[in-house]
């Protein structure tokens, strides 16, 4: 640091207006969530001010609501399936894009990413037309196909980034030392991608649990959780929906915390390795 000059002191000065503005932006981002949680305890409905007569009534109602829990189960099934399918295919696609040369490679890359950038309604409707033309009845299976396919995009981007950062020499060494390509894949490639796999998996799970736009057109008789909530919104709203939304919010926060811990722990151990190296 040199002699403080006119310019640099100015740059270091904390701009109060900007700080207050940022605080307001945070308030805007969090206000609806706070309101939502607060009114889930409000006996007198979803509106009005101030909230009074706090109660757990809506949570009790929610826990006895079979339709909601059925839809939660459906969503978990779909999301679980989507994670398996899109991670597997995303991993293969990332490996193919990273290491293989074949005709149509750039087409594959663009095609895989398309559901990420196109509005959900277009992907949803395309798959609806596909299902109708091959006589596939709309059900959780079609929803699962939609999620599994659309979310390959997320898996591929995340895993491709992981592969790019990976040290190829390790794989070369493994092959040179007599391991088969299969052994090398399981013992070197996959462990190296652990972090990317977990964070892609969490992201896909969350996105699938929350998906409406694609699901909207592929749903059969059994609702997923978002579609069940959607159907209820049309019939009139009670704080029971605030209660389930609050639970969804809590689960999301727990998932982020897990994701964040995995991330920092891995960075931490990496740093330690660096320090231990001679």
């Amino acid at each position: 640091m040199g002699v403080p000059m006119n310019g640099s002191t100015q740059a270091l000065r904390r701009p109060t207006v900007l700080a207050v503005y940022s605080l307001l932006v945070f308030a805007f981002l969090y206000l609806p969530i706070v309101v939502l949680i607060l009114y889930s305890f409000n006996r007198d409905g979803v509106g009005g001010f101030p909230p009074k007569n706090l109660t757990f009534h809506w949570y009790r109602l929610l826990f006895n609501d079979v339709a909601i829990w059925d839809s939660v189960l459906n969503s978990l099934l779909v999301a679980g399936g989507a994670v398996v399918v899109s991670l597997t295919l995303g991993l293969l696609a990332a490996l193919a894009l990273d290491r293989a040369e074949f005709p149509g490679k750039s087409i594959l890359r663009r095609l895989v990413l398309l559901p990420l950038i196109l509005p959900g309604i277009i992907t949803g409707l395309s798959l609806l037309m596909f299902a109708v033309s091959v006589n596939l009845q709309l059900s959780l299976l079609t929803v699962f196909l939609g999620h599994g396919t659309a979310l390959i995009s997320v898996a591929t981007t995340e895993l491709f980034a992981g592969l790019q950062k990976m040290d190829r020499a390790q794989e070369e060494a493994s092959l040179d030392l007599g391991a088969t390509p299969w052994q090398t894949f399981w013992r070197v490639t996959l462990p190296n991608l652990k972090l990317s796999l977990v964070s892609a998996g969490l992201l896909i799970f969350t996105l699938s649990m929350d998906e409406i736009a694609v699901t909207f057109f592929l749903i059969g008789r059994d609702n997923t959780l978002p579609l069940e909530i959607w159907a209820r919104l049309r019939r009139g709203i009670t704080p029971e929906i605030n209660a389930i939304s609050t639970l969804i919010f809590c689960v999301s926060v727990i998932l982020i915390l897990i994701w964040y811990r995995i991330r920092t722990r891995n960075i931490g151990s990496g740093a330690q390795e660096l320090l231990e190296r001679p």
Partner: protein, 281 residues
């Protein structure tokens, strides 16, 4: 280094899956847009009538313009909220940077539906905002124009896309070498000049990426108008949705979808090229 077998094992399954469940469905969408409905059945007779109808009937263009206006509103508001926040965090937040960053990320993970629903309960005529206004005696009758208006759609989508806009903006601000900012100050430029002539131009790629996100995501949205918008804010994707539902004209709906698809892809293509150009200067 990798054998031929290895390469085909990794590339064949994704090619087949994506070909069957992505390429084929998108191709079907294109095909439908050239077909027609006769007596309540889809006839595979190739024609351009759907596209002609889109150009001739002013309703479609009108809705498309309204959609573009709403998308522009969302983009502008998200930038107005996201840019100062990103700027503050990148240059002035100090040690709290990481925590604040996480706080912006959290709402991203919160369900779209949950956030839309929250706005519905806030803006409704017996909602939280009206309750509050009456409680502090600003009004005595509930204000009904908060909900079911384009304003509500813009507000809800701005809330959802501000974190999306923030991320690339913040990343581009973080990448600005700090010695450039110092040099600008040392050479006598004030804060305003430094911002306008050093920081803003260098953050343009991030700004563009964020703006594109918000615009494109709003362009294809049909849930926000259904949730908080009402009839005055019907957007282009709502028309598609009703054509695939009660109105039952899949070919016409497919033609509009193809237009949305082409619009989205060309917008992304154009901004990607612009970003690259600005990034090298």
């Amino acid at each position: 280094m990798y054998s031929r077998t290895y390469k085909s094992i990794v590339s064949l399954p994704p090619i087949l899956w994506v070909g069957l469940f992505l390429l084929l469905p998108y191709a079907l969408m294109f095909a439908h847009s050239f077909w027609m409905v006769r007596n309540g059945l889809i006839v595979h007779q190739w024609n351009l009538r759907n596209y002609a109808a889109l150009l001739q009937n002013p309703v479609y263009l009108e809705v498309l313009f309204r959609t573009a206006r709403i998308a522009a509103g969302v983009t502008l508001l998200s930038l107005l909220l996201g840019y100062p926040l990103a700027y503050y965090m990148s240059f002035h937040a100090g040690v709290r940077k990481e925590l604040l960053y996480q706080l912006v990320i959290v709402p991203l993970w919160v369900s779209y539906l949950v956030r839309g629903y929250a706005w519905k309960t806030i803006l409704g005529s017996d909602g939280v905002l009206n309750g509050f206004l009456q409680y502090v005696h600003i009004t005595h009758v509930p204000v009904s124009f908060f909900l079911y208006s384009p304003f509500a759609v813009i507000l809800m989508l701005t809330h959802i896309y501000t974190p999306f806009v923030f991320l690339p903006l913040y990343a581009s601000l973080e990448h600005i070498p700090r010695n450039l900012v110092e040099a600008s100050h040392d050479l006598g430029a004030g804060s305003r000049a430094t911002f306008l002539r050093v920081i803003l131009p260098l953050s343009l790629p991030g700004l563009l990426a964020g703006a594109t996100f918000a615009f494109v995501l709003t362009l294809g949205d049909f849930l926000a108008p259904l949730l908080v918008g009402g009839p005055s804010s019907v957007m282009i994707a709502n028309i598609v949705q009703s054509l695939f539902g009660t109105a039952y004209d899949w070919p016409l709906g497919a033609a509009i979808s193809v237009c949305i698809l082409l619009l989205t892809v060309s917008l992304l293509f154009a901004t990607e090229r612009l970003e690259k150009r600005w990034a090298f200067r």
